[in-house]
């Protein structure tokens, strides 16, 4: 449900960046989305169809580039990619975990004329 606000922020950000770079129209939005965020691509797509109307994003489509969850253990120093956000070191079993990636949610680039 919070994707409405998120998608509004996304459309605003893209329009501002297009303005700054003299783009009249955006055709592609490349979004980086970490697996350890609470955002659903399907919901974003749903709200985007509604929110893009009448903006520079009108003809744009979003590509979602998923960022895996990577963790580093402070005890054994090993880095691992994990599928689910359960922050236990797969190597030594300790919970001294630092999340290195997976919390990203940003616009990598836009394409347009």
């Amino acid at each position: 449900m919070h994707e409405f606000g998120i998608t509004k922020a996304l459309v605003d950000l893209c329009n501002t960046e297009a303005e700054k770079n003299n783009l009249a129209k955006i055709y592609k939005i490349h979004l980086k989305i970490g697996k350890f965020t609470g955002f659903s691509p399907d919901s974003i797509r749903f709200y985007f169809e509604y929110l893009k109307t009448g903006t520079k994003c009108q003809d744009a489509e979003i590509t979602f580039n998923e960022v895996p969850i990577r963790i580093k253990c402070a005890s054994c120093g090993k880095e691992n990619k994990i599928e689910e956000p359960i922050l236990v070191c797969p190597d030594c079993g300790k919970m001294t975990i630092e999340v290195i990636s997976g919390r990203e949610f940003y616009v990598a680039s836009i394409e347009g004329d």
């Binding site: 409405f4 606000g5 960046e17 940003y106 990598a108 394409e111």
Partner: protein
């Protein structure tokens, strides 16, 4: 077609506004806690306990976030503390902009600002509002597996309160399993078991809060 590298977080404006809110709170030396839990977990009851214990020692403000109405505001105002209401109308969480809108209403200096977020374990976790940190509440009837189902909140919360410990004989909830599940998201979380109904288990939490309030005050003084 031109490609423009943007490399900006989608929530960049919320983050900036949250930072501005935080600076305002810091100027007042207020300790600001963002309280997040599912509906019915006991957010308001726990706030009542905190207020009853601390109101003679420190100045407290409650910022009450609800979709509609002022049910909790009225309940908390009866305790003799200042309460400011935010109605989000449709939104399932508070964001930094909604919080910023009520800041001009804050005319006094407060030592402790408790922000009761909208009842929800998902959305409020993603939106910083200017808090020092998040406090998550998990009540025993909800089940000890909730940290695994809503990992982000438990990952981000500095404090996790397990509430309704008085109901333990009646529900399938293992304190050990709950603690393990919380630690697996956040090994640094401070975990407290309480019953807002009976008042049981709050001593350790109050002690912790006292230290936090003193630390915030000291920080303000050294900054001058």
């Amino acid at each position: 077609m031109k490609k423009i590298n943007v490399l900006k977080p989608v929530l960049v404006s919320n983050k900036q506004r949250a930072q501005e809110n935080r600076q305002k709170f810091d100027r007042m030396n207020s300790l600001v806690i963002n309280i997040i839990a599912s509906p019915g977990a006991g957010k308001t009851s726990i706030i009542e306990r905190i207020v009853q214990y601390f109101k003679r020692k420190v100045k407290i403000l409650i910022i009450e976030g609800d979709i509609r109405g002022q049910v909790d505001s009225k309940r908390l105002a009866k305790l003799g503390v200042d309460v400011v209401q935010i109605n989000t109308l449709t939104a399932c969480h508070l964001d930094a902009f909604m919080t910023a809108q009520v800041l001009p209403k804050i005319k006094k200096k407060y030592d402790l600002i408790l922000i009761e977020n909208v009842g929800n374990l998902v959305c409020p976790a993603e939106f910083e509002i200017g808090e020092d940190y998040k406090l998550a509440i998990l009540s025993t009837p909800e089940g000890d597996d909730k940290p695994m189902k809503y990992p982000l909140l438990f990952h981000l919360a500095r404090i996790v309160i397990i509430n309704k410990s008085d109901l333990l004989p009646f529900v399938d909830f293992s304190i050990d399993a709950a603690k393990k599940n919380i630690m697996r998201e956040n090994s640094k979380a401070k975990i407290f078991e309480v019953s807002a109904k009976t008042g049981g288990g709050f001593d350790d939490f109050y002690l912790f809060m006292e230290k936090e309030l003193n630390a915030k005050k000291k920080k303000g003084k050294t900054k001058g």
